[in-house]
């Protein structure tokens, strides 16, 4: 798209002068000297940083068609013009000698790349896709007594990306599902997949509850992630709170740059967070510091449970219903006692021994300060001090914010570690209120968006489940089983039918169940995740692979095994900016290239600065970036590749009469490619995601609501009769009128609107802090003046305040439970409208238990002190023989934890950026002085770090910041190793061994995220 005149005024020189105005000083009185400024005559385009998910808004200055400068947009309310070192180096993603600008082809067994024309490449790729699809397609399977249409292709895997735009991920989801692909993922699987079920099961939506700007209002902040290092620009809000006097408690195995800013550092053994959070929940209950009125009104603490339900306190580590033969739970006892209306019975006094509150209390009774000390390695006195400070920030006048990232996610208890933190926030009444919330910090720019848009094996855009062949053979079965009886998800049929209409248009009719058969049906839940399909490659079940903006050769667990899998493929397409290790797996140092027959197609892609599209940052805020310059050479947007591929595959099937090819042929795929590079019109994709009328729509009195093809103003207008199409319902309202793109909005925060509702678009419905009904008491009044956000205005009979209410706008606080309609089951005090009972959920069905219970990491220095069950009994252990052996403390005595540094990002970008690569000497391991002394290691010595999976060579950085732990009265040393390095990279410092080679193939039972924070290793000094 092009900038309007108004935009030019805003982003041209007007922006340059506002930079000074909103900086620390107004320099306007200073008479400008004749000194030339290279951005003076440049045009500034709105950009978004492509690195982490803080989503720093940028201004991309362009002169004579060339980028001359990229810096922060000073008007951005969440970043105030700042950028971190990665953001400050974005220039070198576009202007970089290592950019690949021509298509490269590697024939099977070849030892070099060949340059090929783009058109030839695209034609060949389309043929490979068709060939493998046809060879591996399953149209129907027998399930019990019936034939079920499954339209499934298991032979191809597609990796979308959490650094691609929303629209690109949407197009990938649409095309790949149209082709029948089930092996569909993006890198969010490996970093934050546990976030979605954890936050979703507790609060109703699998997304961060609050807004970064609001962090400044917290009284206590507890980062359980390395916030300052991994999300530096957002850390300004922590520092603002600190300047105001807020206490910072940093919980981390290592003393990091975040610890350096904290009042208290709490060293914790990685993989034991449930014990720490459980200990805090116990402390809050036993010291009566929990927010009683909030808990009674807004959570399911008062609901009564079936007495048959048993916890690990009753059953020594297991919940009721465990079946050891299939390592799975029968959840039939995990339920409430119901009243005559089918609603759970409750005891508002919280005294009934069967109420959730009392069962929770009993469950965490074992999580004593002594237990925290012995399991986590946190001295009891320190724990009690922290517990007192943190739990005191509760009640009407106070709130505390907690952040988390991968320390909680990347674990065989990933979902439950995050759940435990969510429950702590819930019991202290810190959700939906200013200065409260759970801050989920995502490391890639569009982890939130890539997740929302469904490039994940288990879901469709907007979070409806990707169907399973057993329970979901028909649309009726699917909707019946996936639509709850109460809460806003009762509207699920509208979302699903509108999605089917967006994908298959006129071919989706009432008569054919809106083409539900076209959707691929998964065989089972335990399949198709990132780890599953990389093993599928190894075993040659997955034959073709499309990889966009991700580098699994370096960033996957057990990466050495993954690279072997890549070499075992028949064909692979890589779309990226640089030559990644994935693209060049066939020529990995030490590997004979002729031993691999993988045919590789490398397509040059484009970074955000060179294309139009939106990116959703970690606080659910979509921001549009405008193409500032043409991508160089044959490079073009990822969207252009996807749309082109779709058109070519459709053309190859054009003559087909086979039923199995209808989903491809009927797929609505008109994105009006333009210009010499055939770039699709991205606003058309956005409009489709927003939703539009497929026919003229009138209200019940016959008045016109929408003309055919008109964008919908809100997801509230979606219908389940085929009259609306919508690619992603949660983004409804982002494009409410033709030509009106709210993601492109860049209005500075106005006085009285600190949440800056005029900047970008936050889903859902531009609500900046979700569950904000909980910021008012049950009667609708703010809990306190200090912590007010929205409240009930009895005169106007509506909710008003400083945010868009996350609640039916005119539902009075005393309204009874709605019997029908879009808010069925929701009453005037149900602050968590997405949940079936409208309540925050302490008790929620997750496959490994309704309450988080501690199990040791699979590689652990100790036996489980809490029960006789050592590891998560339902976790996934991938069976790949010797490639996935696990270590024991006798041979691997040191705890190994892995992480990323401020200056680095996922391996595909930052290692090719010279300004970032020069900031560290090379690959290193952080080791404490005591351990170093025992092993005779000096700072700077080369060491070998070994796990049963691999050995890597790194330099030892000996530092007091790495401490041993006292675990179960025994001293255990830890080793910290950042991951980033690989065999590609711009300079010597950027190349090195691959940390993820050390990591095992293990998975959380719900999301199959790997365990890369808590492992065991051995360390030897090199002779």
């Amino acid at each position: 798209m092009s900038l309007s005149r108004r935009d030019f005024l805003r982003y041209g020189m007007a922006a340059a002068s506002s930079a000074a105005a909103s900086g620390t000083i107004d320099l306007s009185p200073v008479e400008a000297a004749a000194t030339s400024l290279r951005i003076k005559e440049a045009k500034a385009f709105p950009g978004v940083c492509p690195y982490c998910a803080v989503g720093c808004a940028q201004l991309i200055y362009v002169k004579d068609g060339k980028i001359v400068d990229i810096e922060g947009d000073p008007d951005a309310p969440h970043t105030e013009g700042a950028l971190c070192p990665k953001g400050s180096s974005t220039y070198q993603l576009s202007l970089n000698e290592r950019r690949i600008t021509r298509c490269l082809y590697r024939a099977p067994g070849a030892t070099t790349w060949d340059e090929k024309p783009l058109d030839w490449m695209m034609a060949e790729i389309a043929q490979r896709v068709k060939k493998t699809r046809d060879a591996t397609f399953v149209e129907k399977v027998r399930v019990g007594a019936r034939d079920v249409t499954v339209n499934r292709c298991e032979g191809i895997a597609w990796l979308g990306s959490s650094v691609l735009d929303n629209e690109e991920n949407y197009l990938i989801a649409k095309l790949s599902r149209g082709l029948g692909l089930v092996n569909l993922e993006n890198s969010a699987r490996l970093c934050h997949s546990a976030t979605v079920p954890a936050l979703g099961a507790t609060f109703g939506r699998g997304a961060m509850t609050t807004n970064l700007i609001d962090v400044q209002h917290a009284d206590v902040i507890m980062p359980t992630s390395n916030w300052a290092e991994c999300h530096p620009v957002s850390y300004k809000w922590v520092m603002k709170a600190k300047e105001r006097g807020a206490k910072i408690i940093h919980v981390d195995p290592r003393f990091t740059r975040t610890s350096a800013t904290a009042d208290i550092w709490v060293p914790i053994r990685s993989g034991t967070n449930i014990v720490f959070f459980g200990g805090l929940i116990r402390y809050a209950i036993e010291s009566k510091k929990y927010f009683h009125d909030y808990v009674v009104a807004y959570t399911n603490a008062s609901l009564l449970l079936d007495p048959q339900f048993k916890t690990p306190t009753d059953l020594d580590g297991l919940f009721s219903g465990f079946n050891p033969a299939i390592r799975s739970y029968d959840q039939s006892t995990w339920k409430f006692e119901l009243d005559a209306d089918g609603y759970p019975k409750k005891d508002p006094t919280l005294r009934d021994t069967n109420c959730v509150f009392q069962r929770l209390r009993q469950h965490y009774s074992r999580y004593t300060p002594e237990m925290v000390e012995r399991v986590c390695g946190i001295p009891k006195e320190l724990f009690l001090k922290v517990a007192d400070i943190y739990c005191s920030a509760s009640g009407p006048d106070k709130t505390a914010t907690a952040s988390y990232a991968l320390q909680l996610n990347q674990s065989t208890n990933g979902v439950q570690q995050i759940r435990a933190l969510c429950m702590l926030q819930l019991i202290l009444g810190n959700v939906g209120r200013p200065g409260g919330g759970v801050v989920a910090l995502r490391g890639h720019s569009n982890v939130q968006g890539a997740t929302d848009f469904g490039t994940l094996y288990h879901m469709l855009p907007g979070y409806p489940a990707e169907p399973l062949q057993g329970p979901h053979p028909t649309l009726t079965d699917y909707l019946e089983k996936t639509t709850p009886k109460g809460g806003y998800w009762v509207n699920n049929p509208k979302f699903v039918v509108s999605l089917l209409k967006a994908w298959w248009g006129p071919a989706a009719t009432k008569e054919n169940d809106y083409a539900y058969d076209y959707l691929p049906k998964r065989e089972k839940a335990d399949a198709y995740s990132h780890q599953h399909f990389t093993i599928g490659m190894l075993q040659k079940k997955v034959k073709g692979f499309i990889c966009m903006g991700q580098n699994p050769a370096v960033d996957s667990p057990n990466a050495k095994m993954v690279r072997q899998g890549l070499r075992n493929l028949e064909w692979m397409v890589v779309v990226d900016l640089f030559e990644t290790e994935t693209a060049s797996a066939w020529k990995e140092p030490g590997i004979d290239p002729t031993s691999s027959q993988v045919e590789v197609f490398y397509i040059p892609g484009a970074p955000a600065a060179e294309k139009d599209g939106s990116i959703t940052n970690t606080m659910r805020m979509a921001q549009w970036h405008v193409k500032a310059v043409e991508p160089p050479g044959e490079a073009r947007s990822d969207a252009a590749f996807i749309v082109d591929l779709g058109n070519r595959v459709k053309a190859l099937y054009a003559a087909s009469k086979a039923k199995k090819d209808r989903p491809v042929l009927d797929l609505v795929w008109d994105y009006q490619p333009q210009g010499p590079k055939r770039e699709p019109t991205m606003e058309l994709v956005l409009k489709e995601c927003n939703g539009y009328a497929t026919e003229d729509i009138t209200d019940k009195d016959g008045a016109s609501l929408y003309k055919k093809a008109e964008p919908l103003k809100t997801f509230g207008h979606l219908r389940d009769d085929g009259s609306t199409a919508c690619g992603n319902w949660i983004y409804g309202g982002i494009y409410p009128e033709e030509g009106k793109n709210l993601a492109l909005r860049r209005e500075k925060a106005k006085a009285g609107d600190y949440l800056a509702h005029g900047w970008g678009f936050v889903w859902p419905a531009n609500r900046r802090i979700i569950y904000n009904r909980a910021s008012a008491d049950p009667s609708g009044k703010p809990w306190s003046e200090k912590k007010k956000l929205i409240w009930w205005d009895a005169e106007q009979k509506k909710w008003v305040g400083n945010d868009v209410p996350d609640f039916p706008g005119t539902m009075a606080p005393d309204a009874p439970r709605a019997k029908d309609g879009p808010f069925k089951g929701v009453s005037g005090t149900d602050a968590f409208i997405m949940n079936p009972h409208g309540l925050g959920q302490f008790f929620a069905s997750i496959v490994d238990g309704p309450f988080p219970e501690h199990y040791e990491p699979f590689e652990s220095p100790t036996h489980n002190l809490l029960s006789k069950v050592q590891n998560n009994p339902v976790a996934k252990v991938y069976n790949v023989g010797d490639l996935n052996k696990l270590g024991t403390p006798d041979r691997y005595p040191y705890i190994l934890t892995t992480y990323r540094l401020t200056e680095h990002h996922a391996a595909g970008m930052s290692r090719h950026v010279p300004w970032l690569s020069e900031l560290f000497y090379g690959h290193f391991a952080e080791i404490g002085p005591e351990m170093a002394k025992e092993l005779g290691i000096q700072n700077g010595d080369m060491v070998t770090v070994e796990t049963p999976r691999a050995k890597i060579r790194v330099r030892a950085l000996v530092t007091e910041r790495i401490k041993p732990f006292m675990i179960n009265d025994k001293k255990v040393y830890q080793v910290g190793i950042p991951w980033h390095w690989g065999y590609q990279g711009v300079m010597k410092s950027a190349r090195g061994d691959i940390t993820n080679d050390l990591v095992a193939s293990l998975g959380d039972p719900t999301t199959f995220i790997q365990e890369s924070k808590a492992l065991l290793c051995n360390v030897r000094k090199e002779a």
Partner: protein, 258 residues
């Protein structure tokens, strides 16, 4: 002369992210360099002709060897009121701008490097490609066009503040008072006092401990001044030696007398 512009770096807000280092490189289009092993997160060891801003990292341990604090300090040219580089420059290439900043005119610099050794902070570096001395200019082109320096603009936590020196001095003193109230008893300003060392630094700092903790000289002085001081010291030493000899003589005499 216009009001003096200055930079105030508050290390109590610094998170050591090195945005300033990279933003400087980007704006000034400085080439990358292979890093060296420093044994810490810091890179490079020193300012170079391609690194005008440098975040220094220092670990402080308590008496039991436990980590007490990890100090991070974003260092930069101080644009001293009494600038050693400027005074040492024989060609007049180094000049003071109307805003009080100190720049090196690349067209006039003859590469003699007197300024390199005259800087008490090791800021000025020699560029072998151009044969000239070079250093931070506070982004001369930006500040002459109403924009702040790239480093201050990028800083995520506003640890680097840019503005008129007198305004910043007020901010800095207020911040010191706040920090003292919060219990940071060693918090101190470095270079803010215009009547202090080198006539005050136009890039001044708020430190949480002694300057030496951050690798800064406790009492920065110009080497040129040292010539005078050193010669006085030499004369003094000679006198001391001579006097010492006399005392020793007398002492021995005294002992002899006992």
């Amino acid at each position: 002369m216009a009001r003096t512009l200055a930079m105030f770096t508050d290390v109590s807000l610094c998170i050591g992210c090195r945005a300033c280092q990279v933003a400087c490189k980007q704006w000034n289009q400085l080439a990358p360099e292979e890093p060296e092993w420093t044994g810490t997160y810091q890179n490079h060891h020193h300012f170079t002709d391609k690194s005008y801003r440098l975040v220094r990292f220092f670990e402080e341990t308590d008496d039991k060897g436990q980590i007490k604090q990890w100090h991070m300090m974003s260092d930069v040219c101080k644009h001293c009121a009494q600038a050693g580089c400027l005074e040492a420059c024989p060609t007049g290439a180094i000049y003071r701008t109307e805003y009080g900043t100190v720049n090196i005119n690349q067209d006039i610099c003859n590469g003699c490097r007197y300024c390199v050794s005259a800087c008490p902070f090791g800021v000025v570096a020699f560029n072998h490609d151009t044969g000239t001395a070079t250093k931070c200019t506070f982004c001369n082109d930006r500040i002459h066009n109403g924009l702040g320096p790239a480093c201050a603009k990028a800083c995520p936590t506003q640890s680097i503040k840019f503005g008129f020196r007198d305004d910043l001095a007020v901010v800095a003193k207020k911040r010191i008072d706040e920090l003292k109230t919060l219990g940071y008893k060693d918090a101190q300003l470095y270079g803010e006092d215009s009547s202090g060392d080198l006539g005050g630094l136009n890039a001044f700092f708020l430190l949480l401990g002694k300057p030496s903790v951050y690798g800064l000289p406790e009492k920065p002085k110009l080497p040129q001044r040292n010539v005078v001081v050193d010669s006085l010291l030499s004369i003094g030493s000679a006198l001391v030696v001579a006097l010492g000899g006399l005392v020793a003589f007398r002492g021995r005499g005294g002992q002899g007398g006992a």
